[in-house]
Every structure is written in C-alpha cells, then in structure tokens.
Symmetry: C2
Subunit: 532 residues, 2 copies
Amino acid sequence: MAPELFRMLATSDHSSVVSMNLFVALLCGCIVIGHLLEETRWMNESITALVIGVCTGVVILLISGGKSSHLLVFSEDLFFIYLLPPIIFNAGFQVKKKQFFRNFITIVLFGAVGTLISCTIISLGVIQFFKGIDVGPFDIGDYLAIGAIFAATDSVCTLQVLHQDETPLLYSLVFGEGVVNDATSVVLFNAIQSFDLTNINTQSAFHFLGQFLYLFLTSTLLGAFTGLLSAYIIKKLYFGRHSTDREVALMMLMAYLSYMLAELTNLSGILTVFFCGIVMSHYTWHNVTESSRITTKHAFATLSFVAEIFLFLYVGMDALDIEKWRFVSDSPKTSVAVSSVLMALVMAGRAAFVFPLSFLSNLAKKSPNDKITFREQIVIWWAGLMRGAVSMALAYNKFTTSGHTNVRGNAIMITSTISVVLFSTVVFGLLTKPLISCLLPHPKHTTSMLSDNGTPKSMNMPLLEQDSEADLGGREVPRPRSIRDLLSTPTHTVHYYWRKFDNAFMRPVFGGRGFVPFVPASPTERNEGQWA
Amino acid sequence: MAPELFRMLATSDHSSVVSMNLFVALLCGCIVIGHLLEETRWMNESITALVIGVCTGVVILLISGGKSSHLLVFSEDLFFIYLLPPIIFNAGFQVKKKQFFRNFITIVLFGAVGTLISCTIISLGVIQFFKGIDVGPFDIGDYLAIGAIFAATDSVCTLQVLHQDETPLLYSLVFGEGVVNDATSVVLFNAIQSFDLTNINTQSAFHFLGQFLYLFLTSTLLGAFTGLLSAYIIKKLYFGRHSTDREVALMMLMAYLSYMLAELTNLSGILTVFFCGIVMSHYTWHNVTESSRITTKHAFATLSFVAEIFLFLYVGMDALDIEKWRFVSDSPKTSVAVSSVLMALVMAGRAAFVFPLSFLSNLAKKSPNDKITFREQIVIWWAGLMRGAVSMALAYNKFTTSGHTNVRGNAIMITSTISVVLFSTVVFGLLTKPLISCLLPHPKHTTSMLSDNGTPKSMNMPLLEQDSEADLGGREVPRPRSIRDLLSTPTHTVHYYWRKFDNAFMRPVFGGRGFVPFVPASPTERNEGQWA
C-alpha cells in the first residue's frame, strides 16, 4: 500500500518526490558522463557534477521563470551528518598507513600551524582591503570568522584531484593536512567566540594550544577505541562463522557511531572517523570473512564516491539560488572585487605557510630523498587552494543567522563565497592534473605502484592488501634496514618499536594480518592475494 | 570545522544527536545480541530488535518520568522512502527466480484474490462485532479501511521467519503474495475512496479489475525496464574496465530510481523495485566485474538487514508512545476486546482464502509432487498472519488525520493496531520455526540446498550463482526433460519458450551469464565458481 499511503501522506510533497527523482537521475547521469569523460585527463567526476549541477540550476531557473533553482531544500546537517562521514571514513580506511605516519609531523605542522597562519593572513588582508570596497560594517569577530571560513581546506576536493598511487607523498601531506585542519578550526572558532579578542596574551595562547592538543588527542583516541572495539567484537564473536552481512553492518554502524559520538562530545568528528577508518583497516578488516573484505573495500568506496558526487552536484545547483544574487545585482563590481580579494588572500595565505613550513620540515630530514622539493611544494600549495562545501556551510552559518541587520553585506559575503568555491574547484581542479604532469613528470615514489592500472578510477582504488603486504614485509624483517636509515629518519625507529608493540600486544588481542587463525572452511582463503 | 558548526547549527537539536547515537548503538547491540541468540532456533533478529525496542522504550519512559518513549521522531515517509526500498529490492535480487516464476499463477491468485477475500471478511466481521463493543461511530468507509489495513501482509516479517533454502515453495508463495498484495491494496484503497460504496455493480467490479491489471503490468514493466537499462548501460560502457565503484553505485542508484519513479507515477513501488531486482540479478549482475558481484550481493543484503533491524527497533520503541495509551487507559477492556476481535478476524480472513485457493491451485497441477499439501497450507496460513509496519503506517494515516472528532475511537484503533502488530510479530514469529520443523520435518524441495550451511543467516543469504547455474543447465539442455513434464505442467513450456527468447534476443543485447565475453585481464574470473 506504499504508493497510496505515500500520496495520502505527502500530497503537499509531490514536488519533493519529483525533486528526488530528478536528483537520483542526475547522480546516474554524472556517473555515466564522468565515465565517458574519463579519457580526458583534465576532467574528474567532481567537476562534471559541479557543471551538471550548474546547468540543471539554469534549466530549473528558466522553467520556473526565475523563481527557484533548487531541487531539494538541504540543510548543512545533511552535509555534516550524512555526506561527510562516509567520505572521510573511506579516506582513512583506504589511506596508505605507512606513508601517512611517516609524514605525521609534517602533516600536523601543516594542518595546525599552517591553518593558523593562513587564517591570520586572510583576516588581516580582509581588514586592510575591505576598507577600500563598500561591503558593510563588519566587526573584528566577523573579519576573524572570514579568515577561518577561507582557511578551511576542502579534504574532499583533495581526494579527487590527487591520487594516492600517483603522488603518495603529496596525497598524504595535503589530505592529512585537511583532516588536521578540522581540529584546528574547531579550536579556532571556539577561540574567536569565547576569548577576549582585544587582549591576546601568552596565557590565552597556551590555553589555545592546550585546547588543540586535548581535542586532537581525545578525537584520535575515540576513533582508535571504536575501531579496536569493532575488531575485538568481530574477532571474538564472528570469526569463521561466515556472517558477512552482520560483519559488514557492524563495521559500518560502528564507524558511524564513532563520528556521532565525537559530534556529541564536541570533538572533531572528522579526525575521529578518519582514525577509526585507519584502525579498522589495520585490525578489523583482517578479522572478517573474505567476502566481507571485498564487500567493505568496495562498498565504502562506493558510498564515498556517491556522497562526493552528491555534494558537488548540490553545490553546483545551490550556486544559482536566485535569492542570494538578488541583493548583489545592483552592485556587481563590489561582488567581483570582494571575490577577487578573497581568492588572492587564499592564495597568499597558503603560500605563506607551505613554503616556510616545507623548509622547516626539510631541515629535520637528513636524507635528500625524503625532502620536499620546490616543485612538490608548488603542487602542495596549489592542490590545497580549493575551497568547498565546508567553507560554504560555514559562510551560510555565519552570514545568514548571525542577526546582522546589514543584509547587503551578508549577501555579498555569501555570493563571494560561492564564487570562490566554484572558481577554485573548477579552475584549480581542472589545472591540477596538468600541473602535476608538468612539474612532476616522473614521481619519485613509484615503488609500490601497480604498473598496469588501466583507469584513473582504479588507481584511486583501495590498495589495502598491498599496503598490508608492505606491513607484512616490515614484520618479517623486524628491524631497520640499515643503520644509516635509523640515524637519518627517526620515524623508522618509531615504526620499528610500534611494529614490535603491535605484534606483541595488539594483534594477539585485536587480530590483524597473520594473527587470525586460518579457516579451512572458507574455500576462498587461498586465492586471497588475487583480490588485492 | 564540522563539530563546531554542527553545534552552532543545531544547538536546539542536541537531543537529536543524543538520539541518533543511542539509536546507532542500539542497532549495533541488536546485531551482537541477535548473533549470540542465533543458536536458539526460536529467536531471530526481528524479534530481538522488537524486544530491545520495547525495553528501551520502557527505560526512556522511566527516565523521562512518563513523558516520552520516542528516541527519534519518525514519519511514515522514513519507512516508505528509505527503509522499504532496500528490503524489497534485495528480496527481488536474491529470490530464486525459477521457483518464483513456477508458482507465479498461485502467487497472483493469493496476492490479488486472497487480499480481496481477506479484506471483505475483516470488514464484515468488524461491522458485526464492533456493534457489541463501545468503540465509536465509524462509517462504512472506516470499516472498509480497517479491512484494508489488516489485510496488508508484512513482507518484511515473512523474509525473517521463512528461509528460501529451507522451504523454497512456501517462501516464494508467502513472500510473492506479500509483493502482489501491495498492488492490490493500492487499487483497493482507490476503490474505497472514489467509488460509490452503496452501489457496487458489475461495471465497477470490471473497472476495479482493469485498474488492478493496469497497475500490475505497468509497475512490473517499469521495474523490468529500469533493470534492463542498467544492464545495457553497464554492458556497453563499463564491461572489462574494472570500475567497481561506478558499477555498484549505478546499480544502487538505478534500483532506487525505479522505486521513486513508481512512487511518482502512483504505481506500486514495491512491485517495481522487486522486479527491478529480479531483472538486475538476471542480466546486470553478470555484466559487472567479479568484485562488483561480491560487493553487490553482500552490500544489498547488508543494507536490507540493517533496514529490517531498524524497522523492528522503531516499531518496538514506538509501541510505548504514552500519548496513544492515555486515551484508552480508562477503558482497558474495550481495547483488549477490539484487539482480540481484530486478531481473530485476521486469522479467519486468511484461512478463508489460503485453503480454498490452495485447493484450486492443486486442481490445476497434475503432478502430485507440485501440489500444496495440507501441512504446507497450514504453514502458509500461519506465516502470513503477521502484521507489521505497513499496517501501522496505514492505521496512523487513517486514524490520526482523517478529521474524525471522536478521538477516543481513533485512539482505540491505533493502540489495537499496535497490539495486533506486536502480538502477531512476536508470538507468530516465535512459533513459526517450531511449527515448520514440527509440520515439515523433511522439506521436499531440498534439491538445490547447500548442505553445510552452519548458520541460519548464511542460509538466508543470496545464492545467485547457484540459481544461475540452474539457469545455465536449462540453457545447455534447451528442451523439457520429458514429455510427461511438458504435458503436466504448462509452466515448463512457458519456461522453455522464455529460455529460447532469452537466449536469442535478450541476452545478446543485455548480457547475462555466458553472454558476456571472457576478459583475460581480470585475474579473478577463473575462480568465479568458488564465490557462489
């Protein structure tokens, strides 16, 4: 009786069913068109979705006679509760753990200190340049908020333009920075709202630092704890009993639970679910049946893929919302000026921390092979310039509900944010691939690459097995390969002791590759390697 | 900046984050407890979820001091837009096609004529018995609506208590009936609302029949069309290119699109998505990569599994909503009497069509092996007695928004529906397994069973490969096995010509087992059989 009931219940919502149909059909269209455009190295599915979104917005705008360009009325909740968690969890689940942890210090440096520098420069620049443009009376809190909005890098865009297998170092640096950036932003926002902004002293700086460390550690621990709990439960209850559905469901639900728990306790959900993904891929993934491994690997990637397309489609469609543009139609020059100033400040703010911090990071590394070359620094700077849904959600939040009476200034800020997001995603997104192939024709980190990957998408695909084989290699030769290595890179030493600890205490309890007994009942176990 | 933003956006919704956390945690709890109770043959995950839901409701009721037992405020939309489609699609995707189509006529007979008989008997009985109980002044439309509400079988419960591999005939009959039941109910509701109820003649009966046939055919064709479209797109664009994520995403989105299109055009979404699942498992599933096959098989099953648990958890929690029970607390005897009458009528109404229609169905079948035995008829009668979320959604819709002034009568109907749903699900659900093992100790259709399935869940699992191997067998020997078979069962003849048509026209265009070229690039292709 579903349709009848549905019609009765939702007679007023007939249009929302139309919208959902169109939206799902557009998602299908994006996937098919994205696939057809795969050969062109310039495009990717995000940009396709963004362009299709804008085009659909135009069509709807024309059909509705300039009244509306929206298909679905979405809240920012949709983004943070449903779309972001699968994307970030999948990134953690499929990340090359070794590469990530080897660059851990640099990543934290970029994500924490870099975001602060970027925010400061954008805020100062806005204060300086907005005087010359007739925008509106903003106070110091607004300027700092603008700094925070445009310092928020978009992890999702990074995932689309950089590929883990083509440029593993750049991928882990830029994406890892985006994840740490989230924790920094939380502290930054709290600071802007609660601290006395006119009186910044050493004590408040230490308070800020303490808050950041607390947030970073608790978020990470929560993620790791949830991941370990799932590994323990599945190892104890399920192993060898072929309950694929239950295993997959439990992994999915517990990952989501970690995110929601972090949201509940005002931690960084992104950090939590990212580390939950890392722990799950290290322990839980090895405790489940072979079918569950393949299913989780691809199902998480698919969910993340759909969420990304959905997001870009929505951002594209939302960009044409007529309400927002009405206010700025009388002063197009101001809007263009504000957008240009913001875009320039984003570029300057990022340049101001990428090059100095890379220099600092290179000082610590003695082996010339581990240093970040100048060309790589340019790519890191470039690939992190994109601003996405996070910036938009923040801008909406700040400039549509803050009770300002000057609606014109707020409307200009909203439309400028949309312009910056669209411009940066399309232009920088389109140019990143050519830039990389121009600057880094032969990426130096190709040791663990599959050479016969036919499609870019499969290059973007999980290589958990391969990654774990590298881990296994580490386990079989449980000492640094040479004394020179040990001396030059302290991370190797950390890795050595971690591996010892992992094998002695963690894996016997929580499972993991080689630490769960072989089950002869599973006929697929011996073909495992082929599924990598 | 997610959590900070989240907090700012949803300060009023802090309680909803708490609710979501609790709900996800309860889902995890249900899976773990359901797994621990797996050894007891009486329990299943639905009943566990229902019981946990009721218990949580009690705890929340006590904590909130008798104010509320809800965790999340759900609409019926949630059920029909998000929970039902994956459950029904998965059922179509994993159904044994041969078994289903062999019994097609009986299934339609049960689903269409049976529902009509059941609805009539319940309506007449309610008119008769409600006079003796002080319920409220209902008109003829209300009585017919009550008939329709309690004639709606619950396909989801059936999936949980009957297992495709243990009792394939009963499963396909009872579950298939539930799917056809949906289309009948739509027509029935339209008829009740639009026809002149005091003047039922031959013309309106033909109109009714015509509407049913139109609805049944268009819904089925829409499902088949969407399924074939997905098969064609994937065969033409993707095959051999290893885009697992895209393939899985496309299958998922197109299945959902078929459901939403049916809802949009006022067809039966359940019928549409069910046939879309059947067509996808017959064509599309064979066109995708090996990883996609495993992923879809398990991911769809997992989604359906989670949706089912979610549903029962919600129904259990919703049962204790204090608002509804307040009205009937002064007259508990009336409520008990109404519930008992309804339960008895449900049993009588089902008995009134299962036994006569089985007799009719047996008349048409000459082979004694194909006939439905009396013991099987009892199980069919019993297994379809459960009423679930569909009945509850309909009752809510009818008795909370229909503008009646007599709130007491409506409240009694709502609480009685909840009582019938809880009672039938728990009692009949618990007793079905023992009843089957008592009445049918050695099910006769065991030819295609896996003998070494350790867990009930894995018995509930897809056996697509196996089913398809039966199909392949049919293709290799493309003629009825004996003349006696051909004469005795006309479905074999239909199957023979369908197979010819399928091999000559459908499979070359849409792909399917043995009709997609072998790709040597895929290293896993040769181990395919082991993944069945």
